[in-house]
Symmetry: C2
Subunit: 437 residues, 2 copies
């Protein structure tokens, strides 16, 4: 048997997984390396954070997804360095993996815009662990409010601030409003969860900035109807255990809040920076790699960078957003180009097929831009539901998720309301409340 | 309004929850205090550890279960001390809760028989966190085996030892055998998961010691058929990162294994010890409280001890096992006695109604002693399935679990196969494996 062409894929997210699957019948030897053993359906992560879904319902073991594809080997491990001349990837444990073609699709991480100290009090939503930590934090806040000593303390525990009004921020705010105003309505004896304040803070002039303006306006109306307060043009200047400080034009203020979630921007990972340094590659402001029209690096046709780590452009030169569709189409394109090259052919440049964009705001409420048609409300929500169900990788998860959602829709109940794991240092230990009467 | 009789319930397990529910229409003021916000359906915890169910599917928020019962207040907090003269319970944060009647149902913890250093390498199965840690450990073992450098290392990663052949040990062994021999069959390229060794080690002369002998024999046969090796009369002398050492009569040996699970005995908690000390109460060898025939403490009729923390006896004076049925019936009895006392009456002593006992061994295999009738195999499994579904607290969970099990039965797949959370120190970081060919 001749030595097969070795394709090394870093990352089992949308781009990496689709690339591997597209190479199914190709005469190559694929290794897919990921530091986690599962593919995560990131668009539904906020539903784990808000107790509607369990982690396993939005994750599928990469191994299981690819178990019948004989030309791929799945390994657990974390890439930390690259040797582009020897064409090797180096793992954190010193392991060395050679490649003929390399696909880098390791994704991005949350950016606190240089204020990493905020992370402790304002978790973000990138991993299963962060989602369960968020769930812990928000459920715990109601428990603490119920046992608060003073009214001010109770208020602070019942105030939730979400920083960033992109799709994730809106989804979180909408879900939180539902939890407070419906799910927990009857569960407490002292506090009234309905009175919880949910504040969506955004530095820009409108919510869902990358969307068309009419959809931004619709989204704002829908989320306000759920009882969410929106603060636009408010720049966060500090976040600590007591709350959020902001500047709004000439004025500045502080919102006392014990629970803050970060739905801000993304940036490159340490591995991404290392690769850029080794290859002397051009990156944009967020550290994303500038790629050629064929998604490979300039002068490095054997290295593709896909998904959130790449700064891909559409036909007009506008950068594409970091969403699943861009990653999926990029993964498919790169795999097809590898196949074409092995057959001595080439392909026209990558062309993004924009199916649109959508954000869900709450129960039966969403906004969508589908092939240029703007939809909002219940219909947009149905489209959102349908598309997300279709894409969830494993057949079983899809059905379970559908049933969960059916119940949630009918009952407002949330089944995954568990406070698990260790309390992190930022969550104060409950204080005393003497009940002697 | 006159001061209502205050019932303080410590622990939202089977005993505490049923006691609260039984007091539904009573003219009392109930406070249910638990350090977790959820009731855990402990009998199915092994299914979380082995990736069949998600944590949320076997847990229900205590608040949600009791939300419509107006005379109960649910609080999150951990009791650490008691002042029996002032009739107060003291929390870890200094909070003080008074009671007129106290129900202590805080449960037990795992006992390593004085070898707590074994815990690090041999986790047990008492909490959600331990179950997900077990799941992490066992799935990770296969990943590491796939990347092993030497055959001996691969062998050690593919050897699983379960210490203790009670119901939990058998359930774990059976599920593990199914994972190795069916679920993961196609998922790896180098190792053959089917060749994994699963060893059930037991100090006593037979599995399921508290069961009738014929059922022990049946269970042994069923679990052997799944490919589990059983070592009876083997006393564990040491557990470390490399494996398990044991003594078997005059001989002794060591099984090199990277994954060891502890399914041994239980003992009292620090809070249980503190209460016993304060009350000068009599306890048995495992620290369980000796209670009067009415489940209250001798000379302390206002303090009930229920569930795993109590040493309850049947009519013949034989101690009752630490199972859900004993806790449920005890909770119901104590609540009814409180109601009777408030009405100036009393009740005959607690009488345990023994419905039988059962353990599940694997796919369509179980043993059961139902009202003295001994059943095994598929029928026992159906009975087990039925009973467990009935008892799962929340309606929704019940349906989801049924569907999950249906899929699992038909497909051998397991949906909750996630390796999440931080690796603990006992799990070595993957070592290098150069793939250069």
């Amino acid at each position: 048997m001749p030595n097969l062409h070795r394709v090394l894929i870093l990352g089992g997210g949308f781009a990496g997984l689709v690339a591997a699957q597209t190479l199914k019948r190709a005469d190559v030897e694929i290794t897919l390396l990921d530091k986690r053993n599962f593919h995560l359906f990131q668009p539904l992560l906020y539903q784990v954070a808000t107790g509607s879904l369990s982690p396993a319902e939005i994750a599928a073991p990469i191994r299981a997804v690819l178990s019948r594809q004989k030309n791929v080997e799945v390994l657990l491990g974390e890439a930390v360095d690259i040797d582009p001349d020897k064409k090797n990837i180096i793992l954190d444990d010193g392991g060395v993996f050679p490649y003929d073609t390399l696909i880098i699709a390791t994704g991005s991480q949350t950016s606190y815009y240089g204020n990493d100290q905020w992370r402790e009090n304002a978790p973000s939503l990138k991993s299963i662990e962060e989602a369960t930590r968020m769930r812990h934090k928000l459920l715990y806040a109601f428990e603490r409010a119920e046992r608060a000593d003073t009214e001010a303390e109770e208020r602070a525990w019942l105030t939730f601030v979400i920083v960033g009004a992109g799709a994730t921020g809106l989804e979180l705010a909408g879900a939180l409003a539902e939890i407070a105003h419906h799910t927990l309505k009857r569960d407490f004896r002292r506090i009234r969860p309905q009175e919880a304040r949910i504040i969506l803070m955004e530095g820009g002039p409108r919510v869902l900035a990358p969307y068309p303006e009419d959809l931004s306006a619709k989204a704002e109306k829908l989320v306000k109807r759920l009882g969410v307060e929106i603060m636009l043009g408010a720049f966060v200047t500090n976040i600590d255990a007591d709350g959020v400080s902001y500047k709004h034009g000439e004025t500045s203020g502080t919102v006392p809040a014990r629970t803050v979630f970060w739905a801000g921007g993304v940036t490159t990972t340490p591995f991404g920076r290392k690769v850029a340094e080794r290859l002397n590659a051009q990156t944009d402001r967020s550290g994303r790699f500038k790629v050629d029209p064929d998604l490979a690096l300039p002068n490095r046709p054997e290295i593709f960078v896909l998904g959130d780590l790449a700064c891909t452009s559409d036909a007009k030169g506008n950068p594409l957003p970091g969403v699943a569709q861009v990653a999926i189409q990029g993964g498919r394109y790169a795999a097809n180009l590898i196949k074409a090259r092995l057959a001595g052919r080439t392909l026209p440049p990558f062309k993004y097929f924009d199916k649109g964009d959508m954000a869900v705001i709450g129960r039966a409420a969403a906004v969508a831009d589908v092939f240029g048609v703007h939809v909002s409300g219940f219909i947009a929500w149905c489209i959102w539901l349908f598309i997300h169900l279709i894409y969830i990788v494993e057949f079983q998860s899809r059905i379970i998720v559908l049933i969960q959602w059916g119940f949630l829709y009918l009952t407002f109940s949330r089944t995954a309301r568990l406070i698990t794991g260790e309390l992190s240092s930022d969550t104060p230990v409950p204080q005393s409340r003497s009940k002697a009467s």
